[in-house]
Symmetry: C2
Subunit: 340 residues, 2 copies
């Protein structure tokens, strides 16, 4: 007995059934060239009859397009990146593209591999949030692959990048706390690894500047959170409490940290914002949903992801609206809710 595994139906098979060549089948299915109504009908009938499905890999080899976009982020465990990735999927679908998601785990080698690894990616373009990449890796950013960079600071003038004003974000958050009458404003976030977490470093600079402008100092209330997650926020708040240094507000590097910190502070019997005000950054979905609702410096992640996808698609399709590589600044705004 031989295997019953049937050979997939090809365009040639459809053509044979319809009495035309595979070229005509291709023209009917792609709409690239006009065909007579009779031919069109015959081809479509054969397609249905044989249950033909186009081999998109073969089309991809021939056209150089796969219809796939890659979104590469540090880690999906972090709410911000999860929302970013999912919003990108959503927007891409709206434009007829599919998305594959890659996690780099903030590993430099993996980030380098995403940009120009051993294999050329199956996808036609890349939305990429680097984290561990250094100045030495700049050259990789301008490869043959269409790229839109989501970065903490400008990385390369010849690449499309959407850049956050992180110093401004830190300053805005801290200024908000000062305006609410707080004077002992702790910060949770910045990693001590100089190569990593540049967002944290810039946000910290903004925090320092706001404090200095108000004639305040800061050194004793900076807490390092190795991971910018909810659990990291819990641990950071506990460390802050354990130190015994008084504080009446906490500026957290992102909302995940802030939500974890609020949780931990309340578990320890503190009132938020009565005893301690807390503000985060990002405005992830949970920020508005949590009780008390979290004040934050909002970045519209969904809009950011959508912009990145639209920009990438324009670049790939050489849309007339595409005006070459640009560095664009992403908006942010303070959203006051219940924790400040």
């Amino acid at each position: 007995m031989t295997s019953t595994q049937r050979r997939p139906v090809t365009m040639a098979d459809v053509g044979a059934a319809a009495g035309v060549s595979s070229r005509t089948v291709s023209n009917v299915l792609s709409g690239a060239k006009p065909v007579t109504p009779a031919t069109h009908a015959a081809v479509m009938a054969a397609v249905r009859e044989l249950g033909y499905q186009m081999n998109v890999t073969a089309r991809g080899l021939r056209t150089g397009r796969t219809g796939l976009l890659t979104v590469a982020v540090p880690a999906l465990r972090i709410d911000y990146f999860a929302e970013l990735a999912l919003a990108a999927v959503d927007e891409a679908e709206r434009h007829g593209w599919a998305v594959t998601i890659q996690q780099t785990q903030s590993d430099r080698e993996r980030e380098r591999a995403v940009l120009g690894g051993h294999d050329r990616l199956l996808s036609d373009g890349l939305v990429f949030q680097p984290h561990a990449l250094g100045q030495e890796d700049r050259d990789l950013l301008v490869g043959d692959q269409p790229v839109v960079l989501l970065a903490d600071h400008p990385m390369h003038a010849d690449v499309d990048q959407l850049v956050l004003d992180n110093e401004g974000i830190g300053h805005a958050a801290t200024t908000h706390l000062l305006e609410r009458g707080r004077r002992r404003i702790a910060m949770v976030g910045p990693n001590d690894d100089p190569g990593l977490s540049t967002a944290g470093a810039y946000r910290r600079q903004g925090w320092s500047r706001a404090l200095r402008s108000a004639g305040l100092s800061d050194a004793s209330t900076l807490v390092v959170a190795q991971r910018w997650t909810w659990d990291g926020g819990v641990r950071a708040a506990e460390e802050l409490l354990a130190r015994g240094v008084p504080f009446d507000a906490v500026f957290c590097g992102n909302d995940s940290l802030a939500l974890g910190a609020v949780h931990a502070l309340r578990r320890h019997g503190l009132d938020v914002p009565g005893d301690v005000a807390v503000i985060g950054v990002d405005d992830v979905r949970d920020a508005a949903r949590s009780t008390p609702a979290l004040s934050t410096v909002a970045i519209d992640v969904a809009e950011l992801a959508a912009r990145a996808v639209r920009l990438l698609v324009a670049q790939i399709e050489r849309d007339t609206s595409y005006e070459g590589p640009r560095t664009r600044t992403v908006e942010h705004r303070v959203v006051q809710r219940e924790t400040t």
Copy 2:
């Protein structure tokens, strides 16, 4: 002036530079056949020299494998599906596969297209959570494409499926509320569209059975939530309050609904669980994080997604551990937190 667009480097180019044929380059890079150390070194040097990157589309056409898995879910806006999709990405990466995510928006045509659309998908297999598919579509489930189904009820004996015991889940949740002394137990969830939300219909049956066993009736406290989202939960709770029918507990079809319901109940001055106990289903990440922490019937989504991916990979790779299509039941367990 001609365009400076350079032709991509091919295996033949690498072979020419290394003084071997493309076949040998292929063998070196894939490791399919052994090569002498000298040849290996020469090829790798040429690869580095020329900056060669394999065209994976061409490899895909030849081998019939793309290294891509598709995960198709109703909508990423629903936390459960978002977690499912992201957990699948995570597990797939661990096995060396990439994932593309598709949203069907619970649209029957889109669900049919995912199974056997006009185009054969670029991916090698499918993890699929159907929602709008009916009995008439059963045949599509057994196409040429490797599939693992995540279903609300058994759909086809010849397909790998991981099935929830939804009646049991409804019964467990309601029994838990009864054990906590509740007697007027509302339910939020089931859609009135008979074709949709079979999960809700089965969970409702379990709720009814538990109430009947306790000698209680239910009819007046069933609320339909058109969308199983946080907003839907807010609206459902408000509708329940507006009716004026007394209730001391709410069983919600999922956690998103439950979290929204808790939020709305508290906004209306009710104490949870003092006045009203609330339980959901799924145990999404927010359930444990919210204040008060949400009691729920936990389904380990991450483990479910990981199991589905492992099963699919085994099926695709014809792993010896793969034992043919099976219907497996997914575990659930009541997790009591603060809302009950």
